[in-house]
Symmetry: C2
Subunit: 469 residues, 2 copies
């Protein structure tokens, strides 16, 4: 799984311009220049925040201390585990999943134990008891490393999972069970840190000031990924390479700023939905990671003076070519209320010849002699063509190949894009106040101390039986 | 995997009413009554279409001929196959995936061969060469049944896959390779039918007039599902039970009509997005199946007189509780432009006790003594509460348990809902003209005869290098 150094990823924005999709739906050079004029100020602001230590995610590609400690830990564990079970949700799960899907061999977990080169990865980001019970039946706990990830140690889902797994491990392994746990949590504070110290777990830090959705390049993503054979060094190098490209305040040369500007302008022009559509099975979970990054960062109540307003684009995950047979009818003929980001892949790393057969059958004979990769590429270009012809603005981000180095570039670009978009929207990119109400309601319903009033309120809101059919 | 007969699924719409979410975003009784007044006319129209044989999907639950032929075929194949590989895309893939995920044991495919009770299911609904190559490496072709599904036999993705697999089988098995293929295609027409007859494949029909997105209860869904141990009899019984509930023209008693009315009214009132959020890992792929059904049926150019208009809600897939940590910030504080359909599960079929531990730790000790199922349920209720408090209209469909019988009800309800919604919107629910342009472009790029002009047009539209960064 070693990553070759490769050319950089590119952003093609021809098809958001008025020249491609017309005046009603396209962006004018003047509109882009308008954002370009703001870019130096925002670039300076972001640079100042970074210098002041307020954007620590930006420096994660250079944290050699994390990479070295993780490599040493992984080396010590070699051969001991068949499974790595991440217990985490949201930002503690999505990054590892995205990169694993992108860089691990497809179906690797279906191989027989002897054929597997790395432990299998289970990312448990839900609390469905049927799924969790099935996972526990599938693995041998003694041969599994459990990795609870929670900065605060109060994430209900993760702590519930962890309490269940810990009990299971203790029953099975006794006092030495702690060797099957690595906790990733705050360096000093929170509820999981003292538990880890008391029980004697190995730990890695969630660095200060790095929120879940910006944590993929911290130990939150790096440790489980390194355990299952992902080349985290190449991942960080890719991110660092993108960091260098994002230094320029010149909008049209900075892929992250430019992409943010396009998204922002389309949003302002009546396109509240932003579709990310990878033409690659490997990149499908990147779209889920991005969904959190984009939605939780930008979906905010914006207060200006005495006026409050709900703002934020809605990110939507799609998959090429699959969703051509599901969503493209809507994308082309439904309301023109979306901007599209296609992810293209230059070289899939392998290809399959379509044999010459049925040469006399008009409906499929023409396929023979081509390859599956050619068909994939033709369909992506066909969709781009069809969207553009219907005046649907679309950009294409191309990864020359899919590996740790290019995925590192992509994820870092999308994080910087989010920071820039947050400044354009005028909201706090890094908080998530809208999640609190639900957490409080959960605490109330689960009987946590101090939430009796909330419990009463929830129970009072029971609807009428009359409106159930 | 036998399905218990269970109480029926329910639709709770308390939280779309003005009483719950206020006058700006809620529906008044008068608005619902307005649709109720139209319901008898639409019900009569749909009944007439059905009687005239124009809605054959409605009668699929009663097609005993399909069920019997499939059961006999499956019985003949017992023990011969370790894998069932569906080659299909869109409606030929999404239904089988949704039901398999819902009704099969989680992680069943990770079990050792000896422990598995049924063949593994691979639904290949993409043409990513890296994924397809890995699938072919993972399975033993001689022990695998390949099931190409294409009504026309001209679906490029499916036929390309099939040509590759056929070659592989022929090399491996010689002339008797046909025993490892079951084709599902048009009964008489198309390109795959004569191939199947010439090569000697067993076949099942895609019934006349049943479009891909309405085909899940035909052999398209039933045959592969029966091969991997799903109880298709219970599935059809569930669908039939829902059919009976959908007979009434009284809107408030008809779950499909009522759900359509709510979706339509919210769409008309400035909510172009419809989120389906199952609180169940098992139901997660139902949301993908529904995405196609809803988007491809309702996303249409509507022509009235000389005026054309692009209409159609955008379906969005989310997952509880997972997406509480990803999308709920946006759902609560972003623009109020969505209607939510939560899928709840009464009984997960198993539960896991959260052990009493860390009793003195305020942030997680309160969880001990509860169960994971309780936490899941509390979080769903908490999200419902939080959405409602933010005036976000939401309905909840509850499945008492998840099994073939209840999933059959759900899918059938959603199909009838779509038919009803199409009439409200005034579009043709059953065509997909917007997909053609992309297909033509693909044919052109792949060198199919007769598409030279299109090829020229596509190539002429190449964008400028200037707009690539």
């Amino acid at each position: 799984m070693a990553a070759r150094k490769t050319p950089q990823i590119t952003l093609d924005y021809n098809n958001v311009l008025t020249s491609a999709v017309g005046k009603s739906h396209g962006l004018t050079a003047a509109a882009i220049d308008g954002i370009a004029a703001k870019a130096p100020r925002i670039a300076a602001l972001l640079a100042a925040q970074r210098a002041a230590g307020k954007l620590p995610y930006r420096d994660l590609p250079y944290r050699d201390d994390h990479a070295k400690a993780i490599a040493a830990s992984v080396a010590r564990k070699r051969g001991r585990f068949d499974n790595v079970v991440v217990l985490g949700i949201g930002g503690s799960a999505l990054g590892a999943t995205a990169i694993y899907t992108a860089c691990a061999k497809p179906y690797a977990s279906l191989l027989d134990k002897k054929q597997r080169k790395s432990p299998r990865l289970f990312v448990m980001d839900n609390i469905d008891p049927a799924q969790f019970a099935a996972m526990l039946e599938t693995i041998d706990p003694a041969r599994s490393l459990f990795v609870p990830i929670s900065k605060s140690g109060s994430t209900a889902e993760t702590m519930a999972q962890f309490m269940i797994c810990r009990e299971l491990l203790k029953k099975r392994l006794g006092a030495k069970y702690a060797r099957n746990v690595v906790a990733i949590t705050d360096q000093a504070k929170g509820y999981l840190r003292p538990i880890a110290e008391q029980e004697g777990y190995e730990t890695f830090p969630v660095p200060d000031g790095v929120g879940g959705r910006f944590s993929v390049l911290s130990p939150v993503g790096l440790f489980p990924l390194a355990m299952v054979g992902i080349d985290i060094k190449a991942l960080l190098e890719g991110a660092a390479a993108m960091d260098r490209r994002c230094e320029t305040p010149r909008l049209r040369e900075n892929p992250a700023f430019l992409s943010a500007a396009i998204q922002y302008l389309c949003y302002q022009r009546g396109k509240p939905m932003s579709v990310m559509m990878p033409y690659s099975q490997a990149l499908r979970d990147v779209a889920d990671w991005y969904r959190q990054l984009w939605a939780e960062s930008l979906g905010k109540i914006r207060t200006r003076g005495s006026k409050s307003e709900c703002v934020g684009p809605t990110p939507i995950k799609a998959l090429g070519v699959t969703d051509q047979h599901s969503q493209v009818q809507l994308y082309r003929e439904g309301p023109n209320d979306k901007v599209f980001t296609l992810l293209a892949v230059g070289d899939f790393g392998c290809d399959i010849a379509i044999p010459k057969a049925f040469g006399d059958v008009e409906g499929c004979g023409y396929l023979g002699g081509h390859t599956m990769g050619e068909l994939m590429d033709a369909e992506r270009r066909a969709t781009t063509f069809a969207l553009t012809k219907s005046q649907r603005p679309n950009v294409t981000i191309t990864l020359p190949v899919v590996n740790e180095y290019t995925v590192g570039q992509l994820l870092y670009m999308l994080m910087v894009q989010t920071s820039f978009a947050g400044e354009l929207l005028g909201i706090n990119t890094y908080d998530q106040p809208g999640v609190e109400e639900g957490k409080i309601a959960t605490y109330a319903l689960m009987g946590r101390k101090g939430y009796a009033a909330a419990r009463k309120e929830i129970r009072s809101l029971k609807g009428s039986r009359k409106y159930i059919v």
